[in-house]
Each structure stands twice: as structure tokens, then as C-alpha cells.
């Protein structure tokens, strides 16, 4: 039974540091045009490209990204 994985983004925590974008092997991440409450143009993902490897979640210094299984 293949598990269903999702990349969850808690964009309120994102500081737009760009690390996840840099390390994502699939180039699935980018900064969006909107600001969160802290004033940062937070990260968004392209679910098509994302392979749920959690590389981004491993490096993100602000615990924004997480791949969860259901």
C-alpha cells in the first residue's frame, strides 16, 4: 500500500531565506509575491515537481516545510 505524502508549508513562519529553494533537487520551490505577517514574501511549492524528499524540510531553519504521510 503506497502511502500518500504531502508537503505542508506553514507560510506564516517563512522568512524567505531561500535555502529550501537552493537545496530542492527538483526546483519545486519559489518565493511568492505576497507578504506574510512578518513582512516576508514566503515560499510556495509546485506540487507537480515536488517528489516529497523532505530535503527542504531538513534544511529550513524556520520549520516551515514538512513532508507528512497520511
Amino acid at each position: 500500500m503506497k502511502k500518500n505524502k504531502t508537503l505542508v508549508i506553514n507560510s506564516a513562519r517563512c522568512k524567505a531565506c531561500g535555502l529550501c529553494i537552493h537545496f530542492c533537487p527538483k526546483k519545486a520551490l519559489s518565493l511568492c509575491g505576497e507578504f506574510n505577517d512578518m513582512g516576508y514574501n514566503f515560499v510556495q511549492s509546485d506540487q507537480e515537481l515536488c517528489v516529497k524528499c523532505n530535503t527542504c524540510g531538513t534544511i529550513c531553519p524556520d520549520v516551515v516545510l514538512k513532508v507528512v504521510e497520511d
Binding site: 506553514n10 513562519r13 531561500g18 537552493h22 530535503t55 534544511i59 531553519p61 524556520d62 520549520v63
Partner: protein, 243 residues
């Protein structure tokens, strides 16, 4: 995760390595079911925010004195899990004697030194770990080995101490190293839980603000330039587990 307070945004700068370390600690506390009896002693420095984001008891020690505070705490509650979270300024500059004595005594606590090579909180001044030629507000012409000495190899100084049960230099420079850092940290925690003695992990971490660098560049510098001088390495492992 009960340990981690997701609702509270970190107040660290964008890209700061302290966030990664905090997450790893929270995960390990949770995974090892330590939360109920954990006490974290934080140093004065940016690491002093560490405990703001966790549901654990915490003590804020005077600058450089986390280790004696942890020692006193452990004496009073020997079955609790006690770790310090200190910066390189806190731990290796003003607090060096306390570190070395606790290590030599084999005090069963875990010391985490987040080594970002500067005094982050006070504005990026030179620390014992600043690399040669690196410019900071207090060595504006770059650290000079003749005037300031070379980066202090803190981990190496404890190599011959019998009291040390786990000793490693780790890094958060890349996702791979972050995973490795978690394993090292897990061993350090275990060393304490198994009452094997003192455990110390030095975690190389970036301070993009203090280094005056773009975040991604700061991680690259950490992976290359810093690691060349301060190699990622496990020095002592009496736990015997995988790491």
C-alpha cells in the same frame, strides 16, 4: 509534536542555523520521550532564544556559565536530562574554563556549542572561532593569526579526557550534514542517559547577519571554508551506537 511550539515564530534572523539546531533538539527530545524531565540551560547569545520554542523547563545562565548551572542542576536532579545550548562566544570565549573542567570531571550533561564563528547577538564581533582573514566589527581588517591567534579547536582540546563519553564536531551546512548532525546529537543525548559521562557536540552553524552574507552564500561558506579549518568529525564515542 508536544515538545515543539509551532505557533511561535522564531525570532532569529532569516537563515540562522540556530533554528535548525532547535528543531533537531525538539525532535530528539520528543523521539526519546525526554520532555517530562528535560532541563535546557541556555547561554546568553542568540541561542538564548532556543527554549522559547519548546515545552521544556529551561534556565537562562549568565553569559558563559551554562555549564556550572547545568552541573548544579544535575547534582540536584541526577535523573533529569540536562543539556546546555551555548554559542561559541559563550562556550569557547568567556566560558572555556567551565567547559574544560566539566568535561574533565565527566559531569553527565550534554553541552551543545553552536559555533557560528562570531558573537552573533551583540553584532557579529570576533569570537575565538572566527576564521583567519574574516572581518568583523572588532577585527575590521580581518582576523590575524599573529594578533588574535588561530581559530580555537575546542573539541580537540578534550580528546584526551577520560571523562568525555561523546565528542564530535557536526555541521548544518547541507541537508546531508543536518541529518548527520541529528545522529551525532542523538549519541550525545544517549551518552548522558546511559550515564557514561560528559558529552559535547560542536555544531558548525552560519550567522548570515554577523557574517554580512546572503543566506545561501553563508551555508556554502560553512560547508567549505569553515569545515576546512574545523573539520566535521567524531572524536570520541563511548556509546557505541550508529552515528
Amino acid at each position: 509534536m508536544k515538545t515543539f511550539r509551532e505557533e511561535k515564530n522564531f525570532s532569529w534572523c532569516p537563515g540562522c542555523g540556530h533554528g535548525i539546531v532547535a528543531r533537531l533538539c525538539a525532535e530528539l527530545i520528543e523521539e526519546n520521550n525526554l520532555r517530562d524531565r528535560t532541563c535546557c540551560v541556555v547561554g546568553i547569545g542568540c541561542g538564548g532564544f532556543h527554549h522559547h520554542y519548546m515545552e521544556i523547563d529551561a534556565l537562562e545562565a549568565a553569559h558563559g556559565r551554562s555549564i556550572p548551572v547545568a552541573t548544579g542542576y544535575k547534582l540536584g536532579l541526577p535523573d533529569n536530562f540536562v543539556y546546555t545550548l551555548q554559542g561559541d562566544g559563550d562556550c569557547a570565549s568567556i566560558g572555556l574554563a567551565e567547559l574544560m573542567h566539566a568535561a574533565n570531571r565527566g559531569t553527565p550533561i550534554t553541552v551543545i556549542m553552536v559555533n557560528n564563528g562570531v558573537f552573533g547577538m551583540t553584532g557579529g564581533q570576533m569570537s575565538p572561532e572566527t576564521l583567519i582573514s574574516q572581518k568583523t566589527p572588532t577585527c575590521p581588517f580581518g582576523r590575524d593569526a599573529k594578533l588574535h591567534g588561530n581559530p580555537l579547536k575546542v573539541s580537540e582540546m578534550m580528546q584526551e579526557m577520560d571523562g568525555v563519553a561523546y565528542l564530535a564536531r557536526l555541521s548544518v551546512a547541507t541537508p546531508t550534514l543536518v541529518r548527520k548532525a541529528k545522529k551525532g546529537l542523538a549519541q550525545a543525548f544517549k551518552a548522558q542517559e546511559e550515564k557514561l559521562g560528559f558529552s559535547f557536540v560542536e555544531i558548525l552553524s552560519p550567522c548570515p547577519t554577523g557574517w554580512n552574507m546572503k543566506v545561501v552564500d553563508s551555508y556554502q561558506r560553512l560547508a567549505k571554508e569553515v569545515a576546512e579549518i574545523l573539520p566535521v568529525k567524531e572524536f570520541i564515542n563511548k556509546v557505541g551506537g550508529e552515528s
